[in-house]
Amino acid sequence: MRMSKHSILEATKLKKYFPIQTGLFRRTVGWVRAVDGVSLKIYQEETFGVVGESGCGKSTLGMTLLRLHEPSGGSIVFQGKDITRVGFSHLKKLRREFQMIFQDPFSSLNPRMRAGSIVEEGLRVHKISSARQRTKITRELLERVGLPPGSYRRFPHEFSGGQRQRVGIARALATHPLLIVADEAVSALDVSVRAQMLNLMLDLKKDFHLTYIFVSHDLSVVKSICNRIMVMYLGKGVEMTNTTKLFTKPLHPYTVALISAVPVPDPDYLMNRVILDGDVPSPVNPPPACRFHTRCPVKQDICEQEEPLLEEKEPGHFVACHYPGSLDLLEGGIRQ
């Protein structure tokens, strides 16, 4: 695969804490550490996956990277420029370059706007070309994402779930962005429609030279479209590497458990299932040191005392674990 090693977005020790407020005076009594010191680098024209279970901070990470949430700490560099603190007017200009596709095609489109105006809005806001030209671009886009003719004047409720998601994709593409964050973009869709949507997103990526950050809880989807993947657990990145490595030789015990928990649609597939005990702890009071130690099947004493850092254990393979590779995925993972 051709992939220029030119980074487009870089985050260093990015943090996003949400205050927990109670009482009459909205006193802050604690913090939800949704994203707690994540560093990553995203290269041009790659598809970068962020996976994890609910509450691990993957969606917050996606939104904080685009400054839809104000970061509580750390820095974001977009195309060589620090955008962590840039002002609103500058940020507005930048927003042309990065767009978002949301999970729920029902609540992410304004029910009172026609599909045409929804897609066109970005062009209007950024004052791109003339009104007539904008209409033309919009019509072309709606056709490009596979919507039937006449969609321009329809309202969201007149579309099916899959078609609505296509409107959402057209909206994201309108300003010709460089980077798109897709937050669970296919999770709400039926299996047969989901495949159409993934194909469309892959086609568009080629045509528009896009970079995707694909946030999802669904490992099989992430595996099938991403180049590199980061696994998150309780606000931290625990493993980051390319897709093939992650799925053939995962080093973090959490990744191993996560992969082995996904049911494979093949009755003869035997897998060494690592079933974790207990639930994901709350991000308000995450366990000290290694956050996974409360559920880890290969825990040692040091895991309760010292926090492992996300380090490059093999070229391009980052992992935050004191004993990487001590749990093996492949032992029983071969078919009969």
Partner: protein
Amino acid sequence: MSVMDNYILQVHGLQVTFTDIERNEIHVVDGVSFSIKQGETLALVGESGCGKSVTSLALLRLLDGNGRIRGGNVLWQGRDILSLPLREVRSLRGREIAMVFQEPSSALNPVYTIGDQITESMLRHQKVSPAQAKKQAEEMLRLVGIPEPRKRLEEYPHALSGGMKQRAMIAMALSCRPRLLIADEPTTSLDVTIQAQILELIKELQKRFHMAILLITHDLGIVANMADRILIMYAGKVVEEGNKQDIFRRAAHPYTRGLLNSIPRMDQAKGTFASIPGTVPDPAHFPEGCRFHNRCGEFTETCLSEPGKIHLENEHFVLCHYPLGQKTLGCRAK
């Protein structure tokens, strides 16, 4: 498989309709037939709107006011549930046939303690004292793997996590040792690591209590893992029926094959997906003839007439004019 077919539930030609705002009758379930053997797991698979949940609710006559059962029968040990007086249906619910729902947070009553909700069906169906029921409930909670069961009995649902709530739901459903458990998307709202725990638990309890399971799901991964036999539903009809190997290796209906091909799989490499064109039809406008004809790659004019059920081999049936060839499918390259 043994020929000693020991069916505990038989459904024949089930018809369910809903009435829309203009008083049109919408046939959501249209002539569904199947049977469940003692101790087996039958998976009912389909996409949203295919009628799989409605089918499961109709079995226990749990449809709300708008849904009507228009035909068919549901035989439970020789008796037709659909024509029994409601009193007798109530005595079946929870005692012989129990249900686990998709969303544990909305299926549990927030103003009663976990203990109250588990003992409710025991007190109703069994001759036990409240103290005995409570003891049994504690035992059930321990069985489904809830730590500190005695303490949990006094707690309200909000104090439990999603996975724990689903465990409590399962404890509740199994409290009267039912012979059939209907599980409607039991793990859809849970994370994968929790899903794995719950699926293991269901399997283990099935063995222990020798119960049959009707598993309703859209996830073919779970089906491959759990089911003995599989029904594929599309637009209110069962389009294919067979055992695991029939469905995963020799799928004969173009829809089943499309579905299998369109799932991104953990055990396969990257690439574009074969997808089924078009979208799942709206129950108000199911296509004429074969209901899959407008999305099907094998379409001919014959498909505008309704296809009949074809018996392929053993327990493998398909509803299609042109069932696909029986060559073996899905052998992965090593």
